[in-house]
Symmetry: C2
């Protein structure tokens, strides 16, 4: 929390999730007004008991709600109807499933969620769960493998940041060519109001975040360990900078350490969060190709950067292009043309300096007009100037960000260059 | 002719075209037995009068035969029926055509073909025209723009060499990466019995020919000037080496100099001769993209090599890949998979060391068995050993080369490694 205390306004994301938490109904089912009070600790307990991406747990939650699922998992005893359906499902797909052992493992890992909640808060992270205003609903495309919740650490609002976002992924063992391209793409994407999403590894990941940071726009680091675990440790300064300007997120509880499997599980979130994934450099068996496979499976736009055929680290990119899975991209403009909204980002000649404000409703236009022509302002000040409550202001700002009028930066919200009329 | 006099056997191509010339009928129409006697000087005169690729002349020849077309062009007076059809055609395509002036220009450029014939022979070149055994019939795909004839200088047989061939083209201002890739591709293609076709320019063209020469297989240089004109002059040694192992060919008469337009006209022949064109490096407006457009228009396989997006000289390749016109290729194996015969070249596991000889007819099998297991032999010696005449031997050798059993090299014909049983 130390970093937040220096900010003039409370960070947007923080306010949103706290508001949702406080205003939600006491019931277990998440709704339009946010998940219930009991749901949050239940999800925290589940994040400790079940491995991220556990589809059996995903279905247990879908059927009994987070609190019901947590209770069954904690006891290690599942509802017979659910158990029967899971066995049928496993048999139909000829998959081995020892459900009793699976549930027993959940039960064995139960810890009081208040420990994780306290530790997460102490380390400066906030919990974002399905139903929260800050929840990125595109993760729902992951179906049964949707994250149970996310620990989010940083000033940016996760949901707003990801509305216009591109995942930039690639090899740890990138060449200077690869890291240069990743950084330049990220900087150009940022300059055009697009958020970069990537892992926290050396090579392409780090270069992409550094490029995004240089452009002054949010960047999202998706970790395969707790948000309080710095892996790799040499990226401590990088992650600190990301927390100031973007967010560091994780499906794993505070203190969790990364494993080889967790990197692969994590990759589905990188693919699902954005509108498209760009593979900058990847050898034939690179983990980045795993992210590419997720993006492809989720019907997200898949793109790859060509490189010299004489370096192995571009082989994976060329295979994706050759197979017709990835589109060959050579600039940020080409990426935006592929992931942008039709008519808005399609062709350079259609991107004029003036954006039509006519399509906005009264409230949203008032919020837009409350933002000064230069500099950034906090959401509370914007709400006062626009004469709306903070929740309405944040909702309008989110819509305006998605439409490309405003962006969420270090000290609040500001107009994007194109919206300054 | 100096180079041929040192060879033990008469060069295959030379023998073939001389045979065809001597055995052909005296009439004007080319047939299965080769073009008529009067046709060759007529085509030589036309090659002097009309610019290569002149489709009006192409249609005049198609209608009146080479001798009839030559006579009309020489007088500068065209048959009224033909003139009317050409005017209708021009009007239908809203194209300006001053046919009188066009024909007058032909007439003005007439010279006695015996001069060119004598000069071509003196410089060591042979004339190959449609109907000759050495004529590459795939050039017929060029329709009205088919070359009127070709001057061919070198030991390889043009038709046989081009049966399994790939055009490797690209920028003059290639980088070290581009020339390395071009040379390596050409060497691998040559090692697998594929002929390389390219222009004679600096950069990719020269590197491709050098790679092919290093593999010991024929390479075809398609010039935009007379075969006796060395352009660029620094390629004198390269062209000499090509004449020893492959062929240097041109649509233009001896002594003709290259122009910017001629390079573009020439490119259609590079595209039409081979089964596919690989663009190794090409800037956005490179002439290599002109060749690519021809290959695309002729339904030949179009391929492009990716490269660093940070060098402009790969931009054209990336555009072709991005547009879906060219397939991204990164190795000679991938090229052969795209241009090779189904089942023969498709997948690495299908390429075994033993080739079935069962499909060959008696004569062809006798010719194949007459070739020693090691080293190269001249066609005359092969004919004697197989008990067939030289014409039959050459026809069988061509078929065997096309099927990948044998290859035409410096000192005659030899078994390809895979055919050595």
């Amino acid at each position: 929390m130390t970093e937040f205390s220096t900010a003039g306004d409370a960070p947007a994301g923080k306010s949103v999730s706290q508001t949702a938490d406080a205003s939600g109904p006491a019931g277990d089912a998440g709704g339009a007004t946010g998940p219930g009070r009991a749901e949050r600790p239940a999800r925290v307990a589940i994040m400790r008991m079940a491995e991220a991406g556990d589809a059996v747990m995903g279905r247990l939650i879908a059927r009994y709600g987070p609190v019901g699922a947590m209770e069954q998992a904690r006891r290690g005893v599942l509802d017979p109807g659910f158990a029967r359906d899971e066995k049928d499902r496993a048999e139909a797909s000829r998959r081995h499933l020892d459900l009793g052992r699976h549930a027993a493992a959940w039960a064995a890992r139960y810890t009081d969620p208040s420990d994780d909640l306290a530790q997460g808060m102490r380390r400066g992270a906030r919990l974002v769960v399905p139903g929260d205003v800050e929840w990125p609903t595109q993760l729902d495309d992951l179906g049964d493998a949707r994250p149970f919740g996310l620990w989010v650490d940083g000033r940016a609002n996760l949901r707003f940041s990801c509305l216009r976002s591109v995942s930039v992924v690639g090899a740890r063992a990138a060449t200077a060519y690869g890291t240069t391209v990743a950084a330049e793409f990220a900087m150009s994407l940022g300059g055009r109001g697009w958020t970069v999403i990537s892992g926290g590894a050396y090579g392409i990941d780090g270069a992409a975040h550094r490029g995004a940071l240089a452009s002054g726009t949010p960047t999202v680091v998706v970790l395969a360990c707790g948000t309080d675990v710095c892996y790799p440790s040499a990226h401590e300064d990088l992650f600190r900078a990301v927390r100031r300007q973007g967010v560091v997120i994780s499906e794993w509880p505070p203190g969790a350490h990364p494993t080889r499997l967790r990197f692969l599980i994590r990759n589905r979130v990188i693919a699902a969060l954005s509108r498209g994934t760009v593979v900058v450099q990847a050898a034939a068996r690179s983990g980045a190709l795993n992210t590419a496979t997720h993006a492809w499976g989720l019907n997200r736009q898949l793109m790859a950067v060509p490189g010299p055929i004489t370096t192995e680290v571009s082989t994976g990119c060329h295979v994706l292009i050759r197979q017709g899975k990835a589109v060959c991209v050579t600039s940020a403009e080409e990426i935006i043309e592929l992931v942008g909204s039709i008519g808005d980002d399609l062709a350079p000649e259609q991107r004029g300096p003036v954006r039509p404000r006519d399509g906005l409703n009264d409230e949203t236009r008032r919020v837009l007009e409350a933002i000064p022509a230069r500099g950034a302002t906090g959401p509370a000040a914007i709400a006062v100037a626009a004469g709306v409550d903070i929740g309405t202001a944040l909702a309008c700002l989110g819509a305006l960000a998605a439409a490309g009028f405003v962006e969420n930066v270090d000290r609040g919200w500001r107009l994007r260059p194109a919206a300054r009329q």
